[in-house]
Amino acid sequence: MQIVLFHLMPYADLDLEAGRKNGTVWVKLPNKHFDPVKGHQLYNRYLDELEYGEALGFDAVSVNEHHQTAYGLMPSPVVTASALARRTKKVKIAILGSALPLRSHPLTIAEEHAMIDVISGGRLISGFVRGIGAEYHTFGVNPTFSHDRFHEAHDLIVRAWTEEGPFAFEGHHYNVQYVNLWPRPFQKPHPPIWIPSQGSRETIDWAADPKRRYTYLQTFSPAKVVERYLKMYRDTAKGFGYEPKDSQLGWAVPVYVGATDESARREAKEHFEVFRNVFVKMPLEMLLPPGYTSRESMKNVMKAKAQMFGDVTIDQAIDLGLFVCGSPETVRSSFTKYWNDMRFGNLLVLCQFATLPADLTRRNMELFAREVLPALKSLG
């Protein structure tokens, strides 16, 4: 199993009252609530935490992309991944992911990811996403073209990485006369491509296709939902006539390890609940602009609205498997049980969430790396 230390780099100094009053920390929370001096400290603290992940023995460290939100301060994961490329030596660096449809020109992503891959000597894992619904509001990109643009941008990027240039690319959304990438990526044929998703049949059909066999990552979902989608991926692959490797499956989940179950819950409670009930929260119209998902999926979300949009306590989250928290023994046995049910070959752990301070974050990372990680590595 590959264990990845994942970071969102939230604005931990947020005035929570302002976030709650605004109803969401996405799109329209006034940026007067961002203090650049505090931001400076946070970025450097978070980059230190990811660098420490290498020393602690994680296989990869991971960053991601979100725009105009206190939820995560990485509008460009390329910037943070670049910083990590020079400060780390062995650990893989995962961008999970770059939001393809939000860029007006996908070749910029092909170029930037190739640069990081070359600088790091082939340590990049390249993730592709569509960006979340809210980002179609912030950027104004038309969500009804999101899938089309994603697929076409993907085709252009992979061809730019793998085919000898110059060649012409003729698309519906993108047209380029001379595709001729300098630099070409370090890894052959190209960096591994991972597809983070909140769960969708269309995404799974596309990622599991034998032409691609991309690693599918289910992010922040109840364990039962993760299990359902990972099984869907396996079944889909079998439907395509091949047996998928465990390395094609991944799960991203927040984790907190404390000395005992009781102290872990006590220490994590406030921070996890702020994460779930302030940082993640947004109205339905913001989460799902028209065309972002199929109309059927949108109706399913509307049906589950009360459950999805209501507050969740730490105890409920642990019961749902939305959060893995407890003593080293508890966290080990939880993951062992989940692994037996799902056989994910990649586990992404979010060891810092919302307002979790530096000292607790470090201890969480250390306990996880020392007491849990070796046992998970021995599973498979």
């Binding site: 179609y136 104004g140 009804t144 028209p290 109706k299």
Partner: protein, 253 residues
């Protein structure tokens, strides 16, 4: 007056058309929320006109053709539609999104159009005037912002939402986003060519419009050389629904 329903097959799109009355042809182009039921004002107009009410491609019970990607596609579709139905000397009436479509049709050709009424039309961005962001509004906020008279909104909100109505609402919203998400509810190139519309245009606007503020109206009027402006006090974004008698009177004039 009973409206007869038919489906017109055009450019690969099965298009629902409701039609009633006799006289000069009146083509009514509905707004972003579609036209599930024929409004009272259209029944009145059918006493004077041959009223033709299509559901736009992508809306209501009409098909969702793959070619529908922007507002210009609809403009060309309706030029074909006027030809196919052999409509002449048409009174072209459009509300909100439909008003935008009417303007896009008319800059291309007024060969079959004799005059126009546009009701709080989208399509033109007036400097310094900011429309509401309907895509971030909940259904309740939207229902309230659409009308001046909140009793109308409350009656509307009290109606149960059937699964069929929800399906239609999601379909209409999807097509509206496809056509109007970015640039938001306007075509930046449209003002350059509005001078091509030489047929008389009546612009109708509710003074209390909270979706497309009335500040757009004088700007649009300046761009349309042969136009006059009717601003209705105590009226929101849907004058044809909120003040049907006044609306019918303006159209018949």
């Amino acid at each position: 007056m009973e409206f007869a329903e038919s489906f017109v097959e055009l450019n690969g799109c099965r298009t629902r058309v409701r039609r009633a009355g006799r006289g000069r042809a009146l083509l009514f182009l509905h707004g972003a929320n579609g036209m599930p039921a024929i409004l009272p004002c259209l029944h009145k107009l059918a006493e004077r006109f041959d009223v033709v009410v299509p559901e736009h491609p992508g809306y209501g019970q009409s098909g969702e053709p793959e070619w529908l990607e922007n507002i210009h596609d609809l403009a060309y579709f309706y030029l074909d539609f006027l030809e196919k139905l052999v409509l002449q000397d048409v009174l072209l009436v459009g509300t909100s999104m439909g008003g935008w479509i009417a303007l896009e049709i008319a800059v291309r050709s007024t060969e079959r159009v004799k005059s126009m009424v546009v009701v709080s039309p989208a399509g033109v961005k007036a400097p310094g005037v900011f429309p509401a962001d309907t895509f971030l509004m909940s259904p309740e906020e939207q229902a309230r912002a659409l009308v001046y008279d909140q009793k109308i909104a409350e009656a509307r909100l009290a109606e149960p939402v059937t699964p069929e109505a929800l399906d239609l609402a999601l379909k209409n919203r999807h097509t509206t986003a496809r056509l109007a998400w970015e640039p938001r509810f306007h075509d930046p190139h449209l003002p350059k060519w509005l001078h091509r519309i030489q047929v008389p245009v009546t612009i109708v606007w509710g003074e209390e419009d909270r979706i497309l503020p009335v500040g757009i109206a004088p700007y649009l009027q300046k761009l349309l050389k042969n136009s006059k402006l009717e601003i209705l006090p105590k009226c929101g974004h849907l004058p044809h629904a909120e003040m049907p008698d006044r609306f019918v009177e303006i159209v018949c004039r």
